[in-house]
Amino acid sequence: MKPILVISERDNVATALQALEPGRDLTLEGGMVSVRDAVPSGHKIALRMIRAGEAVIKYGSPIGLATAEIPAGAHVHTHNLASTRGRGDLEAPRLEPQPRLAEPPDERNGVERNGVEKR
């Protein structure tokens, strides 16, 4: 089994498919990342440095904002990533319905193909 899974090429985090120990070097398509923190199986690891306030991307879409600078190889979870949705303390985002009628859902296909099938 591969140690990590990158679902979309746009992602800046990967899913650990096994527990990762600090110091381990992981090979990526077009690069390498050194594990910085212990990352439990099923949790996320940063593939590159993510600035505080920058979107964390998984499945090719934003899953929240970094609450602190996240170095490459760090564990990404509730201590450094926060949701922007469904919060009592933030205005609900203004969502614009923009159906791309009659267009194939390339983006979603891309996510799937780059993700699970390609392995």
């Binding site: 089994m1 439990p40 996320k44 899953i63 919060r87 969502l95 319905p97 699970v116």
Partner: protein, 391 residues
């Protein structure tokens, strides 16, 4: 017979197809729920009850949802006959539930505790009626039905990182396949679409459908803010977070895979409202598993596929619930609750397409009568969504 996939189901007088042939014992109100449960217990497995906590002291919109959900179960294609257990002074009108059953061509009788003269007499009389109905239903044969007659409910619960990578994409492929054959699938849990709505909205066949989806999601977020409440803390749940899911957006992006990649979004409907369009429908349900499944079955789903990472036992009183997991440990540890193990996707020993083949075959077999783990274990959870306080 053709080469098209199909199943053996019960053709109803209203043209709909059942995958089960239950005698539904329906209490109008919480006060008649215990009697209804006893009547169902005496006539299991054909007899099944929908005990609930409502039916009186409810405000307008909640009262309507309670009534409409119970009426939807009375008219559901998985139900062959109905016994209504009334109290006598409640808000939900027994006659109106009976009328819902009759409208769909089902035999129905009402037994009321106050007019019958107490628990013992009501229970005895209702058991006799339910047994008579059960005997008649037992003689009804199944017939061949095309897969396009299926309305599949898509559900996930107890999600972990395997859900978005294995079980949900497997189910998504089955959704795409079923919809391509002319069938129907329904996705609920609005809070678990939050953050992935752009993917579904882009597949809407009409702009109004995309707008409706966005409006419902915005309503949930606005309500949370108006109440000063935070969806964080419940979404993702503590178990989801231990499993590696950090935010609702992340959970939603994984969860929305259940709806497939290409199936067109045809409709967005209210809780427990009839699902009338072939293709993919989104239903406005809460994320709570039992309330969500209850609503989607009320809408007309005859089979539920429920993906899980951490494992959960949830069933339904009238619809079979198929459990599928991509977590090898859960498949082992909760073997009695799991129908299909697709953990091979995680270690590359099975492809998503091969897993989808197995799941599609399982859906058709269960539609034809194969018992699910939840049915075997007697899991028949039922809960009607409520939004307002009881008065």
């Amino acid at each position: 017979m053709t080469d098209r996939p199909g199943f053996h189901g019960y053709r109803r007088p209203d043209g709909r197809i059942g995958t089960r042939n239950h005698v539904l014992v329906v209490p109008t109100v919480i006060c008649s729920s215990v009697v209804a449960e006893r009547v169902a217990a005496a006539t299991q497995p054909i007899g099944t009850a929908v005990p609930h906590l409502a039916g009186c002291g409810q405000l307008g919109p909640d009262m309507r949802v309670t009534h409409d959900t119970l009426a939807a179960y009375c008219g559901h294609p998985n139900v062959g006959a109905v016994v209504v257990i009334a109290l006598g002074c409640e808000q939900v009108v027994a006659q109106s539930l009976a009328e819902a059953a009759r409208r769909h061509g089902k035999p129905v009788e009402i037994v009321a505790i106050q007019s019958e003269g107490g628990t013992v007499r009501t229970t005895e009389k209702a058991i006799a009626i339910a047994r008579r109905f059960a005997e008649a239903l037992g003689a009804q044969p199944r017939e061949w039905c095309d897969a396009s007659e299926l309305v599949l409910s898509l559900k996930c619960g107890g999600s972990d990182y395997t859900s978005g990578l294995a079980s949900n994409p497997t189910l998504g492929r089955v959704t795409d396949r079923l919809v391509a054959l002319g069938g129907t699938a329904v996705l609920g849990e609005i809070a678990e679409i939050m953050g992935a709505e752009h993917l579904l909205a882009s597949r809407a066949t009409r702009p109004a459908t995309a707008t409706k989806l966005i409006q419902i999601i915005t309503r949930v977020e606005t309500e949370a803010r108006a109440l000063g409440l935070d969806i964080r803390g419940t979404q993702p749940s503590p178990g989801n977070i231990r499993g590696g899911l950090t935010t609702i957006e992340e959970k939603s992006l994984g969860a929305t895979h259940k709806g497939g990649e290409v199936a067109p979004l045809e409709d967005v409907v209210a809780y427990s409202a009839p699902i009338t369009q072939k293709g993919l429908t989104v239903m406005d349900t809460p994320g709570l598993d039992v309330e969500s499944v209850t609503g989607m079955v009320g809408g007309g789903a005859q089979v539920v596929v429920f993906t899980t990472g951490l494992g959960t036992p949830t069933g339904n009183p009238i619809a079979p619930v198929i459990k599928i997991t991509g977590n090898a440990r859960t498949a082992r540890q909760m073997a009695d609750n799991i129908d299909l193990d697709v953990s091979g996707i995680m270690d590359d020993s099975e492809t998503l397409d091969a897993a989808a083949d197995r799941l599609f075959a399982e859906v058709l077999a269960v539609a034809s009568g194969r018992e699910t783990s939840a049915e075997r274990l007697g899991h028949r959870e039922f809960a009607i969504h409520r939004r307002n306080p009881t008065i």
